[in-house]
Amino acid sequence: MLGWPWLPEWLGQPEWLGQPEWPERGGGPMAVIVLRRLGLLVVSLFVASLLVFALLRLLPGDAADVLAGTSASPDQVLRIRHEIGADRSLPAQYLHWIGGVLTGDFGVSALSGASVSAELSEKLRVTAPLVGGATLLALAVAVPLGILAAARHRRASGVALSALSQLGLAVPAFWIGLMLVTVFAVDWRLLPAGGFPADGWADPVAAVRALVLPAVTLAVVEAAVLLRFVRSATLEVLHADFIRTARSKGLTRGQALRRHGIRNAALPVVSMLGLEFATLLLGAVVVENVFALPGLGEMLVADIGNRDLVKVQGTVLLVTAAVLVVGFGVDLAHRLLDPRLRGAR
């Protein structure tokens, strides 16, 4: 996959989450934390927008070439370039774009003249459920199995689960997708092989059916990562002193894990989820291509091919922003879950 499934387990701990080493400075009342993090988010988004813009200007060829194709004359190309505004200075182009973005207008596609915002929101209707569904699926599988693998880490079942997650990490996602299509769509005809209903969510059953295999594909890899994570977080907690204390009070192993362990183990997992979100979105690009799903990722690949830079910029900024915002949310969640970071006093 194209992300960071190799993030070490301890990265989930707050001290690794980009806070200053002395906790006091990262703490404070919730309002302060939220404000500070929001400020950081805005700066990050601005930096991201600059990065996207600059990176894309490296591309050879532009939308005017694509519009003109092979039969237009050179001065026709110039006219087209002027018409779509590709001949303006870079700062002017950036300002024009970012100015629009600030008001929620991502501009129009150079090729079709269609509103980018409208298209993004349409694509999100495929990608968001895909990524969301995959996350839920992965959690639903990885959390219980990860806890099981930790609780039984000395037994064959636990070792088998670990091995399975290792395998899950080693298989290319598109490969899993192809396999699933072959079995469930082509051989058994249970689910569609790809694509999304032409009328979108008008028929929710059809839409969900179209998303099942892609979401499962995405979830398999994600679950493998998460399982390992949940397992080691749980193992870590199982041997924490406070679990021993809890057991000295008379809680059985299971009770101690349930009442004291799970929430503590959840902390690193939550942080991990935030970091994995970027991976998921990138995985979505591949999976959407495997399943011919009209989502953000599929559009991104096509748009880069067509040099529809305004659209690419919009998409990448949206994706980056989503990751940053999720990171922000996860950070807040972490602080809510962990009173030590709430800075109550």
Binding site: L2, L55, L59, G61, S162, L235, H239
Partner: protein
Amino acid sequence: MTGSVGALVRGVWGSRSGRLGAVLSGLVVVAAVVSLVWTPYDPSRVDPAASWAPVGTAHWFGADRLGRDLFSQVLVGARTTLVVAVAATAIAAAVGVGLALLATLPPRLVAEGVAHLVDVLLAFPVLLLAMVLAAVYGGSRWTAIVAIGVGAGIGLGRVTRGEVRRVLGADYVLAARAAGAGTGRIVRRHVLPNIAPTVWVQLSLILGLSVLTEAALSYLGFGTPPPTPSWGRMLSELQPYLTLRPLTLLWPGLAVVLTVLGFNLLGDGLREAGDPRLRERPAGGSDGAPRTAAAATTPASTTPAPPAPAPMAAVAPTAGSAPRTRLRWVRGEGRA
């Protein structure tokens, strides 16, 4: 450092996953080396007569539609894979460690800027970089390598930043400063050796990740271009025939899975052999297992202590015994 390399190797070999990982990774290296001197056929030679040749003595793994020998392609693919993986990993190491140092060493303004930049970059799709590089420089092996290397390097930088920070905050760095050591010396003699175990673990995982990413990039058409055989490209070329000729896809698929598995297991082995937490609190001696000092961990203030490490005293081993086993299986993966 030199003294611990041997120990590390022994440690890796001593762990079950490490050994399996070493064997699998070794296989890939052997295949790559063999491909330098011998392949049954020229892997990119088209032979219409051998189109879809079956598995047999002529073509051990069969042939593809253009009649190219699959075994030769897999063999040479190992080389490509290794080159991509190793080169990308090397770039990742340089980028990651560099960023981590920049993000932790003074001046503080630069450090914080870099730290935030890393966070933003982490949210940035690597794929885009790969596609842009492929578009600018024409999809070559190097564009994939650079994209994967930079992408992974940013992740590594994030991970390593924490490690560097941990080392910089350690007492022995303070001691070195008190002994008159400058920043350069501290980085060279203290930081780099001490983050090395974590970085090695990460790098072994990045090796695996590079293989997967290369395959995914090739699948999307941004990976290693022909005629260089690569497993990723084989997969993407052969995937239309999944239902018709599943066997042809088995070989590159298996090669990818086993290689990634090998690298990941190697990472696990490395982690078991050189767990940073274990490393930091080695075996105590008979005349005084180090106690986490009373004063150090219980400030009378309301300092929200970050999750403090388990107290040492409770699990201090006897003199000269091996590192405590308890933490071993806490951290170790896949141990029985």
